[in-house]
């Protein structure tokens, strides 16, 4: 188990999530893609921490990532609920109000 190996695994997780976030039409599925990307970030951060500088501070970054995930989830669900209630659909394609 080396740093490179773990990072490649993390990158793979990240890119699978990226694929999902880019290709899915349903908001909740897009959120799952984002979660998967953050999953890769957690793994990479843990690997950097363990292999490069195992100080206490590094763990705080992991906690922050987990907090970011919860914030993402909560806001995502809230927006999805609002979207679903007002449009009857939760497709990202139908929410293009910001198009230029």
């Amino acid at each position: 188990m080396t740093l490179q190996l773990v990072l490649i695994a993390a990158a793979a997780l990240f890119c699978v999530g990226l694929y999902g976030a880019l290709s899915q039409q349903v908001v909740v599925m897009v959120m799952m893609g984002l979660e998967l990307m953050l999953n890769g970030v957690i793994l990479a951060a843990a690997a950097f921490w363990w292999f490069l500088a195992p100080t206490p501070d590094g763990q705080v970054l992991l906690l922050v990532v987990i907090a970011a995930m919860t914030v993402e989830m909560a806001m995502g669900f809230a927006v999805a609920t609002l979207l679903h209630r007002s449009r009857g659909s939760d497709m990202t394609d139908s929410a293009t109000d910001l198009s230029g």
């Binding site: 990226l18 976030a21 880019l22 899915q24 929410a95 293009t96 198009s99 230029g100």
Partner: protein, 648 residues
Amino acid sequence: MSAAAVNAIGVTSLWLLVGLPALGGIALCITGQRANRMAVPVSLGTAGVTVVSAFVVAFSRPAVEVPFLAGAPFGLAVDGLSAMIVPTVAVVTLAVLVFSAAEGTEAPARFHGLMLIFAAAVAVTATATTLPALLFAWEIMGAMSYALIGFRWREDFRVTAGLTAFITTRTGDLGLYIAAGAALAGGAGLGLANLAAAPSPWRDLIAAGILMAAFGKAAQLPFSFWLSRAMEGPSPVSALLHSAAMVAMGGYLLLRLAPLLEITGWAGPTAAWVGAVTALLLGAVAVAQRDLKQLLAASTAAQLGFVVLAAGIGSVAGGTAHLIAHASTKALLFLAAGAWLSALGTKQLSALRGAAHRWPLVGVTFAVGALSLAGVVPLSLWATKDEVLAGALEASPLLYVVGLAAAALSAAYAGKALVMVWRRPLSNARDEYDTEQPGTRHVGGWERIPLVVLAAGAALSGVLALPPVGNWLRGELGAQSDARPGLLELAGSAVLALLVLGLVAWKRMPQLSWAENWLGLEQATRVLVVTPVLSLSERLACFDDAVLDRGIHAVAREVVRGTRGLARFDDRGLDAAVTATARAGVRAASVAGAADTSGVDAAVEAAARTARLLGSAARRPQTGRLHQYYAQITVVLAVAVVLLLVVR
């Protein structure tokens, strides 16, 4: 019990003394109307515990210190001086709260809450060992006094009275900030005990600031007038704030810092003379008053003049004894006045004629207080005042004479009030009742208890200035060397008091019309400070209107005139030339127009077309589609990373 246990109990009591009323008061104030039913039990319970802890700390003498500001901790300690003051204030607070609970007020939660917060602030002031702690409590005290004087805020004049008191004392408070700043600059530290050690120019500044703050709070000249306005507050408020607590804290501060005043050389005599003059002039003011509470207020300022005089000449024991004796005496008198005010609806002396007959207990206790105030043997203020005057005699005979005259005046105004309330009532007395508020014609049993307790204090606390107890007090305060009154002086002042009393009872008092309006201090302040500031700003506004504005208008007018002349010249001379030129111009213009259309205009239009194209290209990425944004972010980040790698 071990020393550690005693210390622990002492420290706990000190925190209770300071913290419990603060917490209780804040809780009551926050809960507001909903706590009305709880207010009285909470307030009396808190005040009771406070009294117990005040006595505990008076005996155990704890000291605590917690970090507050960098280099300036929040220190509280009980030493000999505060051990005397703290129980006095606590007992008076309890008595006043019992009285006002029995009397009943509107919004009891707010009233008792404010009173409790005020009591906590006083406790902190009396035990503070550092300037930050003192300032903190001093400010709260001022704010609470504002809130309490303006307690019945629906009536405008009461709120204005609160504001007057607040702003006047605040003006004095600036002195405390000056003192704190000077202490920081002087580098001797912010501990109260360290102030005297500050280097010379700073030390003088500190002393000046302290004097200013103390004069403001203690209603000494020239700040005295706020106390008159403060009488608009409820009577219990006057009884606490304007006898035992707030004004007393001004005197207390000077007593505490007497070494500082002494070491500067000039501050001590200044304080002494200001105190003596206040005692004399405000005594005369008191004599002139027709309103009982106004009389008492002026007398408060005058009596605190004795305390300030004591502090100025370094007679700490005398000043302390006078402060304590005056606290219980004056609280008693204010409560009695308050009882009459709520029962008869008036506080005009003429209307109160014979009020003592109606409620003999109130009358008797009032008489005890008034006689004590007059300095009649063996009541309290007689002895304490003489101890102060003994110090004054040592310092300067002239000071002594002024003090003695002030003492005679105090006998005069006390006698005036006393004689009036004990006279036979007139048959048409009823007509003058209820002029200020509807009276209840009733003084309850619970309202009498605090009167009796305070009357006992007013009668007996004179022992603090007499040999056995007095010596002990001197020991506690470390003031063994203070001057003691000789037998001749004691007897002399007693005789003087009796003489003046007799004179007052026998003859009608002369009406000192020049002093009736508090020496016109408030008007003087208005004339000397408020009006100049207002008129200065008005002048500035006028200057702006008259000079700057007019200047601009004049310039504009000149410009218009000049233009008209130029126009005339233009019509006659230039116009012809211009017409000729224009003709040539038109010809040239058609040539230029052709060049413009084919050359410049085309270029501009091309640029516009390009910009439009770029604009619509820039809008294309803004699809509003989430996934396309994600894709763009990914690409841009990737490009950025690659760029970073390549450039580096």
